[in-house]
């Protein structure tokens, strides 16, 4: 065999292996989705959206409490985390730039992004839940916001840096002060990218259980009191899934399905916005 023939054979083997690996990895994904859709659709019904939780064996039980709780927790986390993330990202891109401080913040933020979420839950437990003396929606939302910030900070920083410097200069050349340049020109130019970062950030935390376990904890009943424990789809799903009751397990599958579709939807919208922005 000549050297060239040898190379061709090696190439083919490598190609075969990598294709096989990709197929295996993807088939797991579709397997998970398939099971989820089958079990989830089976468990889904209108009563889920109408009734709150009830002890096992009752006919009128649903997920209304967890659905609303989930929306409140994620919504509150968004309200806290998005402005902080965007402002921090703006600082890095427009003010800090290549300074030591900016690089340090970027590094810390990257580390935070990979911190185990249960550690963040423990942190919020120590600094909020313990001093307050009880679980609360606030604590849960803050834990989620802490996870959201580094993601939004990073995308904002990256997206703002993609706006050409000459566009900033052109605004300065018209006599614009810096904050106007950022708001009028830089944010506008990076709108799609920032929005995508926000959606991906929300999607990332919406499926978290660990940070909520000992912050917002859980509840089987409907509540909108932010100072009390608040049910969420994720913790409810966790509790129902490990329970020995068949009807609770069914609700767990429904929760898993709704949650997955929500997150999948956010991801798809985020990517579509980015794609539309790029095409322009």
């Amino acid at each position: 065999m000549t050297a060239v023939q040898k190379r061709i054979v090696i190439n083919k083997i490598a190609l075969a292996f990598s294709t096989l690996s990709a197929v295996i990895a993807l088939s797991f994904l579709f397997w998970i989705l398939g099971v989820l859709v089958m079990k989830g659709l089976d468990a889904l019904s209108w009563s889920i959206f109408i009734y709150e939780g009830s002890p096992p064996g009752y006919a009128d039980s649903g997920l209304k409490h967890a659905l609303v709780g989930q929306l409140i927790l994620v919504g509150l986390a968004t309200v806290i985390g998005v402005p902080l993330g965007i402002m921090a990202g703006t600082y890095l891109s427009e003010y800090g730039k290549n300074s030591k401080l900016a690089h340090t913040i970027r590094d810390i933020s990257d580390i935070m992004m990979s911190a185990p979420s249960i550690v963040i839950g423990a942190f919020v437990y120590a600094v909020i839940v313990m001093p307050m003396g009880h679980f609360s929606a606030w604590a849960g939302a803050i834990a989620l916001a802490i996870m959201m910030i580094p993601i939004i900070l990073r995308t904002t920083d990256d997206m703002l840096q993609l706006v050409p410097g000459t566009l900033r200069e052109a605004a300065f050349a018209l006599g614009a002060p810096k904050y106007k340049v950022i708001i009028d020109v830089v944010y506008r130019g990076a709108k799609a990218g920032i929005l995508t970062g926000v959606l991906l950030g929300i999607a990332r935390v919406a499926g978290e259980t660990a940070p909520l376990l000992f912050t917002s904890f859980n509840d089987n009943f409907f509540t909108t009191d932010l100072n009390q424990a608040m049910p969420s789809l994720t913790v409810t799903m966790f509790n129902y899934a490990i329970s020995p009751y068949d009807d609770w397990q069914q609700l767990g599958w429904a929760a898993a399905f709704i949650l997955s579709m929500f997150i999948l939807g956010l991801n798809i919208i985020g990517r579509l916005i980015l794609l539309a922005g790029k095409r322009k």
């Binding site: 050409p164 000459t166 566009l167 900033r168 200069e169 052109a170 605004a171 300065f172 050349a173 018209l174 006599g175 614009a176 002060p177 106007k180 009028d184 020109v185 506008r188 130019g189 709108k191 322009k280």
Partner: protein, 261 residues
């Protein structure tokens, strides 16, 4: 020694003994530049790449201040004061001395909002006044006919040449005294280039213009005065015709006859 023409008419700007050093650079990029800029005339800056044309141009509106650590020395006189003074109000200065860049810099907003941008910065909110001045600026920039029916459309939908004229409209809408052009046609096709050149010539009735160009024909076509720069020095400043036909400096002659550059 440099050969600098003595301008008899009124001057818009007077550069005297101007040195400029970029942050961290071992040597100044501009050395002892002394240069009068005639009022209501077009002054072209030519010279080989890296000789300091852009650097000089961006000193006139203190653009270099956007990046900390750069150093100005000497004097640039404008409206009776030295604009290199650290206390100079840069926002005010930049409304008086506008700039057009090499690549069109249409903001990601509508055509109308682009032109109105500088006026709104100055606090003009009255819709009738804005409408009138936007139309006037677009007309003066010779682009009104092409865009009058789509003022609310995104400015990035325009062609490169149209965007460049939009940027000119945006700059003249705030009624500056001086306009700085840095190779405004180098990214454009010949037809658009012709349009911009014609426009620049029309504009000198109202503003004083400094234009950097790599294209000697362009300098000869549009400008009244031409400055030839080399390695951070202003080698010669003269009437455009004289400079191209009978240059006083040997270096100028070598450059315009294509011996280097």
């Amino acid at each position: 020694m440099a050969s600098i023409i003595d301008i008899k008419e009124e001057c818009a700007l007077q550069v005297r003994n101007f040195d400029f050093t970029y942050k961290g650079a071992p040597a100044p990029s501009l050395k002892k530049v002394t240069m009068p800029i005639a009022k209501n005339a077009i002054t072209a800056l030519i010279g080989p790449s890296g000789c300091g044309k852009t650097t000089l141009l961006r000193a006139f509106n203190r653009m270099h201040d956007l990046y900390p650590g750069n150093k100005y020395e000497g004097e640039i006189e404008f409206e009776g004061r030295n604009i290199l003074d650290p206390k100079e109000d840069l926002i005010h200065l930049r409304t008086k001395i506008g700039m057009i860049f090499q690549k069109p810099t249409a903001f990601p907003m509508s055509i109308y909002d682009n032109v109105a941008y500088g006026m709104r910065l100055q606090g003009i909110k009255n819709k009738t006044e804005l409408d009138g001045r936007v139309e006037k600026a677009l007309q003066d920039a010779a682009i009104w006919k092409e865009v009058s029916d789509r003022l609310k459309h995104d400015a990035n939908g325009l062609s490169g040449g149209q965007q460049q004229r939009l940027c000119i409209a945006r700059a003249i809408a705030v009624e500056p005294e001086v306009l700085l052009f840095d190779e405004p046609t180098s990214a454009l096709d010949p037809i658009s280039t012709q349009g911009i050149e014609k426009l620049v010539i029309e504009l000198k009735e109202r503003v004083s213009i400094i234009i950097v160009t790599h294209n000697m024909q362009q300098a000869a076509r549009v400008s009244d005065y031409t400055g030839f720069m080399y390695l951070g020095d202003l080698v010669e400043l003269g009437n455009t015709e004289e400079l191209f036909v009978t240059p006083k400096e040997k270096l100028t002659q070598e450059y315009i006859t294509g011996k280097f550059g």
